[in-house]
Symmetry: none
Subunit: 84 residues, 4 copies
């Protein structure tokens, strides 16, 4: 039976947090590998990975830009709300 609380730190709780974090990061790593695989497949199919990366980047930028423009509008709305 290990001491539940030693040196003022709850080792059990700490370990639980560590494991949750590490599991999540392991899953992330697995997904990153999957992404790499897809690029590999695309390349094998004749696509230039470099170009695909650019397309992905552009589409992400579009999404980001759209979101920012929406936030912009919200800010204006909010500001105008001051006169209500």
């Amino acid at each position: 039976m290990t001491k539940p609380v030693a040196n003022g730190v709850d080792a059990k709780a700490l370990t639980a947090f560590l494991e949750r974090i590490e599991n999540l990061e392991e899953e992330k790593r697995a997904l990153a590998d999957d992404v790499k695989s897809v690029y590999g497949e695309a390349k094998a199919t004749g696509f230039d990975p470099k170009i695909i990366r650019k397309v992905v980047a552009l589409r992400r930028q579009d999404a980001t830009k759209r979101r920012e423009e929406q936030e912009m509008l919200d800010l204006y709305t909010q500001s105008l709300g001051l006169f209500d």
Copy 2:
């Protein structure tokens, strides 16, 4: 029915690859958010996130080291197998 192959690029296949990649990256983002949440919980429980990050980094280094040593062993095993 859109042209399956236009300008020498198979738009359908390309789109499929793009979507697979983007879905995977979305999942990665979701996991990253989860990790952040766990750090938030840990902080609320009284742990210092900064220290937890250090611990995670240390354990990851250990794990990496162990993995590399294992790969080393595998290489040796493999090499020795050549003489079987």
Copy 3:
């Protein structure tokens, strides 16, 4: 007269590099302060700094997007060049 090369490291050259780097970073910090001042001025003039930040971000995104699209075109041109 300090030794120009001790322990295999050229302390004089190292120091020179350090100072160049530190001077440049000091200049960066000064510019960052200037930026902050401008936001302060803008706020004092009645502008919402938050909105200005968004506008700056959007304009930067535009520039980035344009650049990326150009790189995209270059990539295609390059790819097509393979058939030359």
Copy 4:
């Protein structure tokens, strides 16, 4: 002649602020490039950039610490001055 004030926002003043900010940030970017160049030089001279970064970080910490201690002293001086 464009309207100086439309929709309640002074477009001219806004533009002026935007340009000041963007110019400053452009200068920052230029300095960042310079820093990168110096690291490149250092590397070409045989120094490990990674180590140089560590040294720079350490010296910055020292400087910060020294500054804080000075502020501490100033506070004391100031406090003592109250009794003058």
